[in-house]
């Protein structure tokens, strides 16, 4: 019941989902229908069932939920291994992003059993039976488990994630004390998987204007960097009832970060800086 780190999974589940209808307030083209049940592998003893969100942009059909049975003796331990197994052995059209398979690139972020995480660092044994796999919440879907991240990247671009200074470039490196460098710990490690942003209910309702935890964490990373000289401009850009202040400290972001970072804290630091500059 007491969670100490984001990789800890809850032991008990009181509610699997909020008590709303399955297709609650969903546009007609987003309604999910029952999909195909794919045949189980012959002769397999150790099987796990996966319900996976599918969407084919080349057909006119709605998104659906397909059921796959995976032979656990034939595939690796991680959910990404299961997805690759399905793609190799059952349905080659299953589409998902992946790259490093070790939790550092952020490509395979998706929603598994209701929470966002990286598929390559989530153990299959940690999921329920059937395990449900959805793409990142509240995003436009290109195909199957591949969300359109253009908007999130644009929001990241908006916070100007590069060093800005007027002071002429020094001959060697720009100096930063050890304390100064410590201020970046816990923020620079972000892999931009967007698990946090797509876990934030405030971003669900205001995605267009609220920057979301990922962009704001990076905004804090640049505000906290002692070498950066554009603090005033950065704070002006952030001070907006929507861009920053849609954050109501819900803290789903900190709960779900697969790298153990703390976007909620970063946003609180930004709000504190906002107050400090006018007091």
């Amino acid at each position: 019941m007491i969670i100490s780190s984001s990789e800890q999974l809850p032991r008990k589940t009181l509610l699997k989902r909020f008590p709303v209808p399955k297709n609650f307030a969903v546009a007609p083209q987003s309604r999910i229908q029952r999909g195909k049940t794919w045949p189980a592998p012959a002769g397999a003893t150790h099987i796990k069932v996966f319900d996976i969100y599918r969407y084919d942009p080349d057909s006119d059909e709605s998104p659906r939920l397909d059921t796959f049975s995976v032979d656990l003796d034939d595939c690796g331990q991680m959910v990404l291994d299961a997805l690759i197994w399905i793609k190799n052995k059952v349905d080659p059209t299953l589409t998902f992003r992946r790259s490093c398979r070790e939790g550092v690139c952020g490509s395979c972020s998706m929603n598994m059993d209701g929470t966002n995480w990286l598929a390559c660092t989530r153990f299959i044994s940690d999921l329920g039976d059937p395990a449900t796999i959805y793409p990142l919440a509240s995003r436009s879907i290109i195909k199957d488990l591949v969300p359109d991240l253009d908007h999130l990247y644009a929001q990241y671009e908006m916070i100007e994630p590069w060093l800005q200074s007027r002071t002429p470039e020094p001959d060697k490196e720009r100096l930063q004390s050890l304390d100064g460098r410590e201020q970046l710990d816990g923020y620079y490690e972000c892999i931009l998987c967007f698990c946090c942003t797509s876990a934030c209910p405030s971003h669900w309702w205001n995605a267009g204007r609220f920057l979301g935890p990922a962009a704001l964490l990076q905004a804090w990373r640049w505000l906290a960097d002692s070498r950066d000289e554009a603090t005033e401009k950065r704070l002006d850009n952030l001070e907006d009832p929507f861009r920053l202040y849609r954050c109501h400290t819900i803290l789903n972001c900190t709960r779900t970060c697969p790298k153990g970072l703390n976007p909620g804290k970063a946003i609180a630091e930004i709000k504190k800086m906002m107050i400090e500059r006018r007091s």
């Binding site: 929001q155 267009g208 907006d240 009832p241 861009r243 849609r246 906002m274 107050i275």
Partner: protein, 128 residues
């Protein structure tokens, strides 16, 4: 807001630019919250203390200067905090023209109700 599909993602994300305000609202919400902690606890304790009273006793309690002042502060802080909170809720969930109607309604109702409450307290406090 998103009328044409040909706007670039950056343009859509930037929208109309930063309002360059928002701290005031956030700070006011916190200040009124801090004020409400002691005021509301005082109110709760008072209600418990006066639960069995008849009209005359309630009137006498409300008439005392301390109660009148604290009650006034409570009503003011309460409606200020409520107005700010409800404004945030409307901004979160409403995105059409209905939003502006709701915001105006909340502001005006809060001011009106606060004044009615304070007027009632004043009537009791200054009654002979």
């Amino acid at each position: 807001m998103m009328k044409s599909d040909t706007r670039t993602p950056l343009s859509r994300a930037s929208g109309l630019g930063s309002a360059k305000s928002g701290v005031g609202h956030w700070w006011a919400q916190r200040i009124s919250a801090v004020a409400l902690i002691p005021l509301s606890l005082w109110f709760a304790a008072s209600i418990i203390a006066h639960v069995g009273d008849d009209y005359a006793e309630v009137f006498a309690w409300l008439q005392s200067p301390l109660s009148a002042v604290l009650m006034t502060l409570l009503v003011a802080a309460l409606f200020y905090h409520a107005a700010l909170g409800l404004q945030t809720i409307v901004e979160d969930y409403f995105h059409s023209a209905l939003k502006f109607a709701a915001l105006v309604l909340i502001q005006l109702l809060s001011i009106a109700l606060a004044i009615v409450g304070i007027a009632a307290i004043a009537k009791i406090a200054f009654a002979i």
